[in-house]
Amino acid sequence: MQIRISNCLWKNLLVVSAFTGIFCSGVLAQSSNDQPTVKDFQDRIAKYIASRKQENVAHDSSASPAKVTDQQKQAAQKIRHSRVGAKQGDIFTPRIAAYFKKQLEATLKGPNGAKVRTSLQHAEPLPNVPLSVNQKYPPNLPLQSTPPTLLLNLPRLPSELQYRLVGQTLVLYDTGADLIVDLLPDAIPGDVNKK
């Protein structure tokens, strides 16, 4: 017996499976209104990466921790000098900042919101850490892990950069140079970090 499935049923099945996938992974659909903002953000990131590449930052493995640290210091110094005058909001412009806050809030209220909140509370939140753009990330502090569902709902970054949560602040962090590229204060509500 041949089973026939109508076009309409196929379409409905596709919609249901797409919705189920979104629900399970916690990835939120993006509005087309946000696309220019996301594009603006990506362009700013691309510009940063291009200027970083010009500095020819070396990252070689070594059995000597001193050599690795020295390499990192030199990289940070080169990039810092090339960005003299960089200030908070250069990348997280008001419009981009509003988009990020909206995405973070929607994730926290979304299907995986409760799990994201629990993970944030278990991530050893760091309150009152002094952070400045174009400066080194404060040394010897534990890293606050960033819930993966949050990361799935933010624009992807090249491997040189990471989003890092420090208390309520979202930090755009250059991993190889150990440098804070930009900051977004009050990115997540204060009560989220409280157990």
């Binding site: 399970c24 992974s25 916690g26 990252h59 070689d60 493995s61 070594s62 059995a63 000597s64 921790p65 001193a66 690795v68 640290t69 390499q71 990192q72 995986n112 799990k115 994201v116 629990t118 993970s119 278990h122 991530a123 050893e124 040394p139 010897n140 534990p142 890293l143 606050q144 892990s145 960033t146 819930p147 993966p148 569902t149 990361l151 799935l152 992807r156 970054l157 491997s159 990471q162 890092r164 991993t175 190889g176 150990d178």
Partner: protein
């Protein structure tokens, strides 16, 4: 010499002698009556006076596991001495590190005090260490530090015989890493697949608890590609959880740090130990994983043989 001065000198001498003894006293090791050659299949044997509970089969894959080790304190050194004693008996040739490999500052002196010196006998014997990153680690330094064998990456994979290992960075599980894991698990030809990373997906410890959002993203991949065992640290205790959907979960975050009396009541834990530091030795042979968890003082706190489970779906989800 006055009497008071004589008493003072005697007291200082006594303190020095007791201090020296503390540093050099051999660790208590559990003796076992039988001593057998490698290749035998007994469940418990003595090798050099150690209580070895691995079968030591030919062509098996043997490794050790440490987590939250890098304190540089005396306890870490004592665990390391037990590891070296067991290495001589068991002949494991690599160690997986579950994160928090170097606590505090990350100067060259720290790397020496918190890694190179405690594990010197192992390093000298050619044992390789494969690190994953914890929340107290500096990813920039450590991924480029050659003795950690991370190849400059935050996450990476390697093979040992039929066993495929996947070292993940649970501090930052971004979409790129999830894509990488998906592809590498899919392509893996390993008959055993083992993932290790810092933050546990299941954890009965009161201090941190499980990372439920991480679990939401990783578990579907682990199940889809038949991962067999998962090792994590972070909570400063030892735990063997009940297998979940055919996957064995171990938490070992007490090879340097310790959080005593940290467990909450739970039916999900098969074995827990939170009163001293530990490390683990593992042997994989055929379709069995043999393991032994040894404390800082040489006591075997858990051991057993786990079959390679056929994944079976279970209903409900743990906390």
């Amino acid at each position: 010499m006055t009497r008071a001065r004589l008493i003072l000198i005697t007291a200082i001498w006594a303190i020095c002698v007791s201090g020296a003894q503390t540093q050099s006293a051999p660790l208590p090791l559990h003796a076992n009556a039988r001593q057998q050659a490698a290749g035998d299949q007994s469940s418990s044997r003595s090798a050099g006076g150690l209580d070895v509970r691995l079968p030591l089969l030919q062509n098996s894959v043997r490794f050790a596991v440490i987590g939250d080790s890098g304190t540089g304190d005396r306890d870490q050194y004592e665990v390391a001495r037990q590891m070296e004693a067991y290495r001589q008996a068991v002949k494991f040739d690599f160690v997986i590190m579950l994160g928090d490999n170097i606590y505090g500052s990350h100067s060259a002196r720290d790397f020496a005090k918190k890694f190179e010196e405690p594990y010197k006998p192992l390093l000298d014997a050619g044992v390789k260490f494969y690190a994953s990153l914890g929340n107290h680690d500096d990813p920039n330094d450590e991924r480029l530090y050659k003795p950690f064998n991370m190849g400059g990456q935050r996450y990476y994979a390697f093979r040992k015989g039929p066993v495929a290992f996947f070292a993940l960075d649970s501090n930052y599980m971004d979409p790129q890493q999830l894509d990488w894991l998906n592809q590498n698990l899919k392509d893996s030809k390993g008959t055993w697949k083992i993932c290790f990373f810092h933050h546990p997906l299941y954890n009965d410890g009161r201090h941190h608890g499980p990372d439920v959002d991480l679990r939401t993203q990783l578990l579907p991949l682990f199940q889809q590609y038949d991962v067999n065992a998962v090792f994590s640290g972070h909570e400063h205790v030892y735990q063997r959880m009940k297998p979940e959907k055919g996957i064995y979960y171990f938490v070992l975050g007490n090879s340097g740090k310790l959080m005593t009396h940290d467990f909450r009541k739970s039916a999900d834990r098969e074995k827990g130990f939170d009163t001293d530091r530990t490390f683990m030795i593992v042997e994989i042979a055929g379709d069995k994983l043999h393991f032994q968890v040894i404390s800082r003082t040489g006591e075997t706190v858990d051991s057993g043989e786990l079959p390679k489970a056929v994944p079976t779906p279970t209903s409900g989800e743990r906390r």
